[in-house]
Subunit: 108 residues, 2 copies
């Protein structure tokens, strides 16, 4: 099974899927709701939804003939966590560099 970050980043690399997420952060929506703004065949959009569900970014429940989708924050946090970690290391490096520069400066 591939890393969770793999599938989360991959899912978010598609503009249609990001648009779906952007919609869902404002609240739950049905499949038709989600499809409406996208000039795209329904099965195609459904597949995007499935990608989002597979990586855990979206969950859904079907009631009658209507499926309602909602967002799941977990994977977004994972992604944000990874980015935050990189930023910290990066900034740590900058700190060390400026500390080094400061040391060099003092030694002159």
């Amino acid at each position: 099974m591939a890393n969770k970050l793999d599938s989360a980043f991959a899912a978010l690399s598609d503009p249609t899927r990001r648009a779906i997420i952007e919609r869902l952060v404002t609240g739950p929506a049905t499949v038709s709701d989600l499809a409406a703004p996208h000039d795209m065949a329904l099965p195609t959009l459904m597949r995007h939804l499935k990608v989002l569900e597979t990586c855990g970014l979206v969950r859904s429940v079907k009631k009658g003939r209507v499926r309602t989708c909602h967002i799941e924050a977990g994977p977004l946090m994972d992604v944000q966590g990874w980015l935050e970690w990189q930023r910290r290391v990066w900034e740590g490096r900058l700190d060390r560099l400026s500390a080094l520069a400061h040391d060099i400066d003092r030694s002159n």
Copy 2:
């Protein structure tokens, strides 16, 4: 030309490329340095590097026969920015929900 977020997220969806980023946040490295930990043919790794360069996550300079790569923070910030935005909307929604719950509670 595709959205910058598309290519940044796509670039980060591959574990090899994330590993390269994880290495580069600690400081610049040559192509060989970057290739060393990955049991992978050099041209394959070069292509990963090219993907990272194409989306602006990595830049490199060649001196003699050695190419040195360094990270570029911009695209990472873009990605983080998008995530942050979603989180804000999401949390805003929660705030409104709890406010609503509070109102309902008071009205009883």
